[in-house]
């Protein structure tokens, strides 16, 4: 239990540091959201100065910009805890949280499925490659996946876009579903969504699997020389059982730690890939927000990304004692 408490403390620290950093960075902006909003509103006609002054006061409060920096900081935090990020500048007055939560499921869905697939694929191949070192097929497959590893997410997504969008246009390359799709929940809709997810997921899996593979393969080759594996072999335990129960069970814990550490990078990759394919998740939202100069939306997105990733890391971290009994003892 101390373990969970300590991890939770780390979670709080991350969130605190990250959000504070976000806050301070955002206040370096020359953009004054209040002035922007007022310009936008008053563009449609004249308004008298009193009304504008009132609007200014209301907007300042709405954006949490009253008082000095410290007071703004406190306001920011108190609103954040309640999930209030203020109104969006470009879609005024829709609250930012609402916009974000519309896009969030897409990103979460894509990220979870792609991560799961690449984790399973990479680790399985890696364990097999590390244990059956002579297999030719495994060597070729490994080489292929490892070769894809260094390519930045954007480039690979872009290449896939060109391949499947222009050269061999069999898969849709933008959006989460067809533009004129009927949005009632039906089998065709689900199929449509899946079709649109294939390319972004493929980009993520292809880049990600390689790193799991190398890691697992190295771990497996090392574990195979451990005493308890040799002992099991001397005991006549079958190789599949050894692979499963002795090798993989021991290798998976460091891999999980690795997963927790790379969630930030996986999130980055997901967001970038979304942008390439116009997938309606956080990534596309972020880019559009930047182009629209939507201060509160960008701020909200950055904050939420930090919180989201930190929570995910925390969840994975507390999984490890379940798999490695030695951790509990600490």
């Amino acid at each position: 239990m101390i373990f969970v408490a300590r991890r939770f403390g780390q979670l709080l620290l991350v969130v605190f540091l990250g959000i504070s950093a976000t806050f301070f960075i955002s206040h370096m902006t020359p953009v004054d959201p209040v002035a922007e909003s007022i310009t936008a509103i008053t563009n449609f006609g004249k308004s008298d100065p009193e009304a504008i002054a009132l609007m200014r006061k209301t907007l300042t409060e709405l954006y949490g910009l009253q008082g000095n920096l410290f007071e703004q900081y406190v306001t920011f935090w108190s609103r954040l805890i309640r999930g209030d990020f203020g109104p969006s500048l470009s879609a005024f007055p829709t609250p930012v949280s609402q916009i974000i939560f519309r896009a969030l499921p897409w990103t979460v869905g894509l990220m979870i499925s792609a991560t799961l697939i690449s984790f399973l694929l990479g680790n399985t191949l890696g364990a097999l490659a590390g244990y059956y070192r002579k297999s030719r097929i495994l060597k070729i497959l490994s080489l292929g996946l490892i070769g894809l590893q260094p390519i930045p997410y954007y480039v690979l997504a872009f290449i896939l876009l060109i391949l499947f969008g222009f050269v061999w246009p069999v898969l849709p390359i933008t959006g989460g579903y067809e533009m004129n799709a009927d949005l009632t929940l039906s089998f065709t809709l689900i199929l449509d969504i899946i079709r649109h997810s294939i390319l972004p997921a493929m980009a993520l899996v292809l880049v990600g699997a390689g790193s799991w593979l190398t890691g697992m393969r190295a771990l497996t080759s090392n574990i195979v020389t451990e005493d308890y594996v040799t002992f099991a072999e001397l005991g006549g335990v079958g190789s599949t059982r050894i692979l499963r129960s002795y090798v993989v069970r021991n290798a998976i814990v460091p891999q999980l730690t690795g997963l927790a550490m790379s969630l930030g990078a996986i999130f980055n990759g997901t967001v970038i890939t979304e942008i390439v394919f116009g997938y309606p998740g956080i990534g596309t939202l972020l880019i559009n927000a930047v182009h629209a100069g939507d201060y509160s939306l960008v701020l909200g997105l950055a904050s939420l990304s930090i919180i989201g990733v930190a929570i995910a890391v925390f969840l994975i971290d507390i999984l490890s004692p379940l798999l490695d009994p030695r951790i509990k003892a600490e």
Partner: protein, 342 residues
Amino acid sequence: MQTEALLHAPEAATQPTLVVERLKAYYTTKAFGIDRDIRAVDDISLTVAKGEIYGIAGESSSGKTSLIKTIVGAIRPPLHVVDGTVRFNFGGQSYNIYDLKPDKLQAIRWRHLSYIMQGSMNVLNPVRRIRHSFYDFAFAHMGLDSATFWDKVRDHLRRLDLDPGVLDSYPHQLSGGMRQRTTIALATVCTPEFIVADEPTTALDVIVQRDVLAMLRDIQRDLGSSFLFVTHDMSVHATVSDRVGIVYAGRLVEEADTPTLFRGARHPYTQHLVASLPKIGDTTRRASLPGRPPSLAEPPSGCRFHPRCPLAMDICSKEVPPMTNLTPRHRVACFAVSGATP
């Protein structure tokens, strides 16, 4: 021939359980253009009779562990067998280890041939409870249904003075001594005919050592198994082994019944090993041998002990001394002692 000589001994009226003939196993490494052959096991022949505890003694890196690993067929590249045979005889069947197909070899493991590894620290799967190891190693061989199997396991543990509760523990929750005794229990649960023990008492304190040795002797008495017992600690051999073979730099240099070896060792190296044991009341100085153990990659020519040997003659640096019988049960490989000239 030497093996025939051994067969005339009374206990070996039946077939010896283990016959090793002219075994050679080397580590071959090729890295960055350098080829190297490390001659860990260089032409060793020995036999172990049924129910006998055969001790193997020698200093660290003399090749003892490589020898027994080769004997049980647990070698991995870069270690490989260059020459010789290893044959086991149990239940009327003869098994040539290096001729067996992998699945046949797997079938005799644990049921007939078990192995207690050096260092109990890490031999059990750290992420699973101990009962899983018992299941993995023994269940398939015993051919019993689940309930009977676990009853037998618990009985076995109790007989060896272990609390059956260890089955539910994780390895790291047990002390070193407990872990070692559990490993020994695991190695003997299928009542194998041949047990190899590699330094089973090293790294344990003396009290626990005594318990472990007593345990091993009890097992040997109850099951009638043969043992191949490796340790550098001569006092342990004095307590436990029936016969002892001394290994130096990958070769067997002397072999005799324990009393004969301790009171009448003939090979200079053995004499030194025996003399180095402290005795109560004996205050003579202990002198160490000059020089150091040879590198197995570039061993001395001829007899490997000759650079450090007080009896070294001319011929010792040129020819390898063969194992000759001084008596039917005492063999030595030394030109000076056997007086043999090739």
